[in-house]
Symmetry: C2
Subunit: 337 residues, 2 copies
Amino acid sequence: MSRKITIKDVAKHAGVGIGTVSRVINGSNSVSPKMKKKIFESIEALGYTPNYVAQSLRTHKYKNIAFFADISNPIFAQIAKESQIELEQFGYTLSLCNIGEKDIANKISSFLEGRRFDGIILSIPKEDDEELNESLSNIDIPIVTINRDLPNLTAKVLTDYYSSVKEAIIYLLSLGHTNIALVGGNKEIRPTREGIRAYKDAYLIHNRVPNQALIKNGKFSSESGETIFMDLLPDIQKGYITAILSLNNQMFYGILRGMRKAKLQYPKDISIITFEDSELMQLLDPPLTVIHRPIKDIGKSIVKILIKSIEEPEQIEEIESVVIPTEFIIRDSCRPI
Amino acid sequence: MSRKITIKDVAKHAGVGIGTVSRVINGSNSVSPKMKKKIFESIEALGYTPNYVAQSLRTHKYKNIAFFADISNPIFAQIAKESQIELEQFGYTLSLCNIGEKDIANKISSFLEGRRFDGIILSIPKEDDEELNESLSNIDIPIVTINRDLPNLTAKVLTDYYSSVKEAIIYLLSLGHTNIALVGGNKEIRPTREGIRAYKDAYLIHNRVPNQALIKNGKFSSESGETIFMDLLPDIQKGYITAILSLNNQMFYGILRGMRKAKLQYPKDISIITFEDSELMQLLDPPLTVIHRPIKDIGKSIVKILIKSIEEPEQIEEIESVVIPTEFIIRDSCRPI
DNA sequence: CTGAAAGCGCTAACAC
DNA sequence: GTGTTAGCGCTTTCAG
């Protein structure tokens, strides 16, 4: 291929100085209309596009965002997708970095090392990883977290777990369930805490106090969900536990698998509700009662906050968390007692 | 934060020339061991990491790969994830760009414009988009395609649709099914073509010729799958069509939804097989007979080919397509006639 | 084997 | 308003 054409070529072609071309490209300072026109023509004629790498080196702006999460979780994949679509409007690029359970601080810093990003989108598996929080607070570019309360990180997009979990539990209590198991991930993350808080409050409203043993915590995986279900199984078979609310879709798969193995069916043998409304959730038979959250809105909010933090840092005071509403959708996976 | 420390700082700290530091960083040419040691110590002491942007500007190497696909499809999200994990080993970054159905050529070129990538991973919805193929062949960096036969693009990672579809159809024929519907996406992509070829060959082996009308093409969406199912419905209810093989997971969701609406159950009313073995596929009741492909291997192969094309372009002659084997897994969604 | 210097393509400060 | 120039941080000749 022929050599990439540069700003110099444009300047020569238009018979102007290189600086003037730069000004036109950046729309900065006033350039005389005739110059402007001439330069635009040359840009067009030569098919010039500025080299972002060179621009970045000069300006310390990279138009590039790093996305850290566990993409195995389809929800994060969707959020990544929506964020990318949104970022594109602003001319930004999204670079993926998958993180698992372990060695996250290292993974993040080695990913960031040497590379240049203007901002970060992040969701990590625990909030109380001190080493990680330490290294996170040393990062000097804006970070937007997803559903996490991290010390020093104020820009966050949260899902309103509280309202819908409360609504769901109240719904179950109204159906006559008294012992509802709550299955969630690590206690050290916001969704679990909020879920538990909502759970307790819902019981309170019904003038009851839930059995602490009904609150089960594990990891965001189907294996963990299945393990928890198996723990619960004796009490389910005894008829003590009659409903389960799962705060996480991946754990929910494990619960379903466990039910299958134990030859239990919903809603006959147990009522169930889960978070996240994927296409398949509706295909399960009977269709599932779920808590749904709008992924597209989450992506949009993330990007909005992030771009603002990057491009208008002076207004950073005003940047706080955004809470995305959820929706409780009743279908056919719960039955009255 | 304090100013980023640069190669100059290291040179000064070590009392050497800037070029020597560079040589040490790149492991290039021989530098005397004592120098090397001193410089490494300074790098360590100052916590220096080279600025990739500056390196890129100089070397025209960016350590960055662009990924174009429709991430709505969980399969592509998984492939993106696996590719990223693999690329990381080589120090490369993955930038996402979601593409939909329309205006793809523009999307790709505007994404690439000005930015610098060393390679591209790509899967597009049709193979016969001339404008797109034209613009693709003008790209002067290595491109690895996923399951597409594109003119001029020889580096590809393919899934062996043929063998498993053939196996699956033979399985159905052996169960006594004679009229098996084949549901796939656009005819202008390799998976569909290969699926159809396998389908016909399987019939041939049984000394039969399939009814062309049983081959249905649509788009990779559940809506399209449902529409096709509804087309098929009369013949299913008549008992003419007794089995369906879906080449695509998203279309399959639509088929399931259609079955639900029509109050049909598998395997009783119809036998079904689909591509892609997700966790939920096993949770459907009864569990589904599926064709499975190893996503991790696909990611690895993509990256292997891509890195080789980038870093050892002289061996490009040898770089051809890799075919990833598939596996036909029999569970309980088909019954004998 | 090593230091000095040119230059990747661009922006911004500086003159005119 | 506009051209010239320094320099972002790095690699790579070029001398020595």
